[in-house]
Symmetry: C2
Subunit: 335 residues, 2 copies
């Protein structure tokens, strides 16, 4: 590793002149600056991030926190994170994975401070919500993707309208017995989705078919299967099922397959997320698309804005969704 000291010697100038040249200070003459820059280039100089970080008190690094069990294997998070990474890195920031399942080390704030992390993207929170709260109450720039409450510094898809869109699509296909596979009753997004469903059903004068007492926390295939089973036992065969995740929708489809019903002929099912795998199942899944690319982009912009403008409070950022029609919903011909 070549240092600015060696460049200084090679160029016959002082260390501070090199530093200023490299950092584009205008007080250095063009001639000197260009010469220094060229020499640095030739010598293959790369700044020592630790040294910079030590004096500047920032590391141009964004921390990522997630606590969902599946971790990186969660397709929704992976999609958002991939977009976020692309955009934030193009602005010169690196990404540090902060999550740790290690016993005592659940203190994200300490970890972030220790590593001089500038900002943190909280992808999902579970048990240790306290540790995340400490992040929010700190001096760090923080943004959360999956808030437990509708607080500031959050970014998410407009779930309420999304579910209404979803239900309305089924409604317009002629379905009336529309069951709902719910998500979490413990966090904001999950409750928003429920609210969307209940409001829609009420407005149309339809009876809501859902499970009041079953909160689903992981949005998995298995949860979808079990919830569909319970719904079926409670209400019989619906015309259509509105769900809060693609995997849950696929679980529901599996349930119907196993019980002699055909999707979409006997029952229509709509997902939520638009994961890549929607196209590889049979039937291909009609679903609500979350705009991962946009979420990642806006998250990166928001964090950078907070950093640049030294603000720490941000209104919630709400991203629009759209319906993606594939093969899992059909016109109702029963009535």
């Amino acid at each position: 590793m070549v240092t600015i000291g060696e460049i200084a010697r090679a160029a016959g100038v002082s260390i501070s002149t090199v530093s200023k040249s490299l950092n584009g200070y205008k007080e250095i003459s063009d001639q000197t600056r260009n010469r220094v820059k060229k020499i640095a280039e030739q010598m293959g100089y790369t700044p020592n991030a630790a040294a910079q970080s030590l004096v500047l008190k920032r590391a141009n690094t964004i921390g990522i926190v997630y606590e969902v069990e599946s971790g990186l294997k969660n397709l929704f998070f992976a999609a958002v994170l991939e977009s976020f990474r692309k955009h934030i890195q193009s602005k010169g920031y690196d990404i540090l994975l902060l999550s740790n399942n290690t016993e005592s080390k659940l203190d994200y704030l300490k970890h972030s401070h220790s590593k001089n992390v500038d900002a943190v993207l909280v992808i999902s929170t579970d048990e240790s919500y306290e540790a995340v709260k400490k992040l929010f109450n700190s001096d760090l720039a923080v943004l959360s993707l999956d808030p437990k409450e509708a607080i500031h510094n959050t970014i998410y898809s407009d779930s309420y309208s999304a579910i209404r869109k979803s239900c309305n699509y089924l409604y317009e296909l002629g379905h009336r017995k529309i069951a709902f596979i719910n998500g979490s009753y413990q966090n904001f997004i999950g409750l928003e989705r429920l609210r969307g469903y209940l409001d829609f059903m009420k407005e149309k004068g339809l009876e809501p078919l859902y499970l009041k007492n079953r909160s689903n926390e992981s949005y998995t295939f298995h949860e979808g299967y079990q919830t569909m089973k319970a719904l079926f036992e409670a209400y019989g065969l619906p015309d259509a099922v509105c769900t809060v995740s693609d995997l849950m929708a696929m679980g529901a489809i599996q349930f119907f397959n196993n019980h002699g019903y055909h999707v979409p002929k006997d029952v229509s099912i709509i997902g939520f997320d638009d994961l890549d795998i929607c196209e590889i199942t049979t039937p291909q899944l009609t679903t609500i698309r979350q705009d991962y690319e946009e979420i990642g982009l806006r998250a990166s912009e928001a964090l950078i804005e907070m950093l640049d403008k030294h603000i720490r409070m941000l209104e919630p950022i709400v991203i629009d969704t759209k319906i993606v029609v594939r093969d899992s919903c059909l016109k109702n011909t029963k009535y």
Copy 2:
């Protein structure tokens, strides 16, 4: 952020005594060390990683490099990375995502040096293989998951035997017309899988049904679909299809669905990877399981060993696979 200087003042000792106490030097008396530790604890001390990194010339950080288009969305990488992260973090290392699509910044080595990264896990390499080669030729501890050549410092599933296992399973079910959906002809793993197939078919005196001139680089659903199409056009309906990825297997299934054939009744298909989604498709996919957990664990152990023992050269680490039987293969009743 409290510093060791403040602790020193609070404890009435010198800075170096604090440093040595905190780092467990035995030359400090138990009494002093414990007192210092307790005070540090009370004051909420966390070491400044940048300062440590600057003097120690390492950052307890492992860099991750990947260049595959899908990035984190690649289910295989996500699974390995999640396991790797878990294990490496339990040893006190952090993970820094080094990949960048930014124009000039493809120099992983410089980036690693700049960030004082101790070791690098190369998850996949594409175009910029040169940049990766520079990593291998550097002083860093490097391990690659998806080597282009069978070189040192690599870790991968035993693909040759895996495919033989796979073919043999189909063979023992009575299938003889066994087609092969190949992967890359440009890298080691892909060629190993082909070799496994060809050797097996030769030993059994069967005609290999595969595409000599079609190298598949991305192992996607779409590639699987297209390859199956070409195979079908070249050889007609096979008894069974051996594939090199679950997604390709699903692409093949889709192809058969679209052309009026039923999997597994008309044709058996076996995947490779054992992604989570194998269980959510219909039929559930019989496949070869790559032991992600083990790969991540062994990768972390290998890297740490290289760091601790100051070695940089490691024999290839080969991980065993096993077959996971689900519903996509059936006994052949044709003959």
